[in-house]
Symmetry: C2
Subunit: 193 residues, 2 copies
């Protein structure tokens, strides 16, 4: 029989709280309260707030990379239709969430990515992982003549990635799905052959 609390559960609470509220707006006490863990246990598992945040990002980043890979592996549609349904799903999730969080890794990048090297490079690591998954699918789409070959698969992945996160920022203040829809329409029109 294990102990009462475990690292993973606390990380999951951290994911939720950081994603919705940002990094500097969240105190350790809030994490403790929402996870029901006492301070001593927290500092037994994590060295500091920064260390905790890094581990939160890492867990989510890795989980999401696997999730994306599985999604595209299981997707039986053509490559570009897989991409479309992936982004359609992300947009739906964001709408259901009422645009209140966006992407944890992007939020962390914007808020502290430049000042804090530890968090910045942790975020970048996972961005790169996701971009590679996207690039794989894009490449298949190019081979199937569905996607333009004017640019490399990785360049197009960066393009999709940037556009989507830009539009997430836009929905945070407009709280309206239409901006995601516009981005979707234009982007997929443009990359399609």
């Amino acid at each position: 029989m294990g102990y009462k609390y475990n690292r993973e559960d606390i990380l999951n609470v951290g994911y939720d709280v950081f994603r919705r509220n940002g990094y500097h707006n969240v105190g350790i006490n809030q994490i403790l309260k929402e996870s029901g863990i006492p301070k001593g246990s927290f500092y037994n598992f994590f060295e500091s707030k920064q260390d905790f945040a890094q581990q939160v990002i890492r867990q989510y980043g890795e989980t999401n990379t696997c999730w994306m890979r599985d999604f595209f592996e299981d997707c039986t549609l053509s490559p570009i239709e897989c991409l479309k349904s992936f982004y359609a799903m992300m947009m739906n999730l964001n709408e259901e969430d009422e645009y209140s969080g966006g992407c944890l890794v992007n939020n962390m990048s914007v808020e502290v990515g430049r000042q804090n090297d530890i968090i910045g490079s942790e975020a970048n690591t996972h961005f790169v992982g996701w971009l590679n998954v996207l690039a794989t699918v894009i490449e298949k789409g190019q081979e199937a003549n569905e996607i333009t070959v004017e640019f490399s698969a990785l360049e197009l992945a960066e393009y999709l990635h940037a556009g989507f996160y830009g539009v997430l920022s836009r929905t945070k203040v407009t709280r309206n799905r239409v901006y995601m829809d516009i981005w979707f329409e234009i982007t997929f029109k443009f990359i399609s052959t």
Copy 2:
């Protein structure tokens, strides 16, 4: 002769400090220290930290709207070349700044735009203003047959806006100009007729 300190100078300090460090990571004391103003004077001019941040955003937002309008009015190139040189300039500024700040309004949107209605809607107001300026130029480009008419000028403005801010977030953690260049190449290739 006026008093020793004035609202505008403090707002400019706030712009710089908030842009580089975010909202919740900045304390009033930092603003006081960097502007040399005592606390009493600060609270004479501003009701609260939130009120201060709102005014910082407003001043920058309005200034930037005018600056953009002037830029495009003074630009003697064709519409799409004006757009290109506008974004090229923004990219150069960001590179010179070593990717350390990005756009204040976008940073604020991502960090607090969803939790804080005051700041969120202030940010949105200025986004809308900038988008309208962009749309005006895009419309001219469409009339001159330089820019695709598959989408409305405002939709394309949203598209440019989202992509650019997405890529700013990307440069914050990569600290490399190349991601802006990729975005630029792809985007202008796509919108050009």
